[in-house]
């Protein structure tokens, strides 16, 4: 199972993750990502990994277990 989570001590609300992965990440009123903690569908895992690599703050993490 693959999930997304955010290291809140790093995230700077760049919002890039939401643009790259709108299916899984929305932004709150302050521009911080809202992720629901649910499993990332197999078809989106690659996009999720790309979003994590693109995060300028290295705050987005994609974990598989």
């Amino acid at each position: 199972m693959t999930t997304i989570d955010v290291d809140w001590t790093r995230c700077d609300a760049h919002g890039l993750c939401s643009r790259l992965l709108p299916e899984k990440v929305s932004l709150d009123e302050w521009g911080f990502p809202v992720v629901d903690g649910r499993e990332v569908e197999p078809g989106l895992v690659k996009a999720a990994r790309q979003a994590a690599l693109a995060c300028p703050a290295l705050a987005l993490r994609v974990q598989s277990s």
Partner: protein, 413 residues
């Protein structure tokens, strides 16, 4: 029930025989000679004995999270490289029980540390403490005895969030005393980045008692589900003021004479309830009832005072305590404090809806439990204080004098 006379300076009392605070009502600070008379030297037990005993008496951590101490011990490797860490930083602003325990019964705390260190085959013991008097009492206690040469007492200078165990560990290791962004736990990376058995100071005092009394002796007092006693800090319109040692299983109504005023259980990460009702002092039961005991604070404003204004004051303080690391906490808590202030000044239901939406946006979205705990405090206030808030909405005020029972560290008023 015997309520011991308050010590003039200690303001401690108990229901039944005090255990942790034995001798304090009579003598004030229990020095080493008195401690030996009351408790003897620490009873050193093997790790396997301690593991079983902790499990049998269901000892739960006393810092707030109520994590089973037996499980914490089970996760630890042993050996001279591991550390024992006693958290006496007491970040919860309303709590006084830890500094009271360390000030008046320092030797029992040290005994517990020695018992735990022996079971883990190490000599590395660190006690972190914020309060100056408690710090001095511990340092003096180490000098009064000959078996505490390895005990390191460290004074910390951090607030609510800095008192969280992982923040304490960061501070001890020379890093900024804030919670880490990644899931690192003290039993893996603790003091000196080595495995560390860490818990609240009251937990260790119970470990000392358990080692001395044995399982059945320890369990002679308290509830079957959670034997022993607990230290509580009682504030405001309660049966006693200050630190109270109470057998687990005691109905909370004993501590709260009848009043229409709401009750805060657990402190500033705690929950407002309309009344204590049938609640009893049992950590698992209180958690199941949605009002966890936290660090043992029970507070009630006086009837005829404005609780709403007091909630606003605490919410503003909670917002100011955000360590500023995590956006949703740093922006969300001040926004929520503003929502509460607006509701107190008469804002309509759409503002209450906005607050509920924001509560969902701060919960679970930070590196530590500060946003969750603050959301618990604010969310339960919105729900429980609905009648008071309705009066504020209609009149812009309730006309009552503000409640001022909840203490805040200097800075905000």
């Amino acid at each position: 029930m015997t309520v011991l006379a308050d010590h003039p300076t200690a303001s401690v009392a108990s229901i039944g025989e005090p255990r942790l605070l034995a001798g304090v009502a009579e003598h004030g600070r229990v020095d080493h000679t008195q401690h030996l008379r009351l408790h003897g030297t620490p009873v050193l037990r093997r790790r396997s004995w301690l593991a079983t005993a902790l499990e049998d008496v269901n000892l739960l951590g006393r810092g707030g999270a109520a994590f089973p101490v037996a499980a914490k011990l089970a996760a630890m490797p042993a050996g001279s490289h591991v550390s024992v860490l006693l958290n006496g930083s007491e970040g919860e602003p309303a709590s006084r029980k830890d500094r009271t325990l360390m000030t008046y019964a320092p030797h029992l705390v040290i005994d517990g540390a020695i018992v735990a260190a022996h079971a883990l085959d190490t000599r590395r013991i660190t006690i972190v403490v914020h309060d100056a008097t408690a710090h001095d009492s511990l340092v003096r206690a180490c000098d009064e005895r000959t078996d505490a040469g390895d005990v390191r007492v460290v004074r910390t200078h951090d607030g609510f969030v800095g008192g969280e165990i992982r923040a304490v560990v960061n501070g001890l290791n020379g890093d900024r005393a804030v919670p880490p962004g990644r899931r690192v736990l003290p039993h893996e990376h603790g003091v000196d980045r080595r495995p560390t058995f860490a818990s609240n100071v009251e937990t260790f005092a119970h470990v000392a008692l358990l080692a001395r009394l044995g399982t059945s002796g320890y369990a002679r007092v308290g509830a079957t589900t959670e034997p022993g006693t607990s230290l509580l800090t009682l504030i405001g319109d309660t049966s006693h003021h200050g630190v109270f040692e109470v057998p687990n299983g005691t109905p909370l109504s004993v501590l709260l004479p009848p009043s229409p005023a709401p009750v805060l259980i657990g402190g500033y990460h705690g929950v407002w309830v309309r009344s204590a009702g049938q609640l009893v002092l049992d950590r698992a039961a209180l958690r199941a009832a949605g009002s966890p005991l936290g660090a043992g604070v029970i507070a009630r404003p006086h009837a005829g005072t404005c609780v709403v204004s007091e909630v606003v004051r605490v919410a503003q303080w909670l917002a100011s305590e955000s360590a500023g690391q995590c956006g949703p906490c740093f922006f969300g808590l001040p926004a929520l404090a503003d929502d509460l202030a607006a509701l107190a000044a008469g804002a309509g239901p759409e503002r209450a809806d906005a607050a509920l939406r924001r509560l969902a946006l701060v919960r679970g979205r930070g590196a530590c439990s500060h946003p969750d705990g603050s959301a618990l405090f604010i969310g339960s206030a919105l729900e429980t204080l609905a009648p008071e808030l309705a009066i504020h909405q209609h009149h812009g005020t309730c006309g009552l004098p503000p409640s001022t029972v909840l203490p805040l560290p200097k800075g905000l008023s």
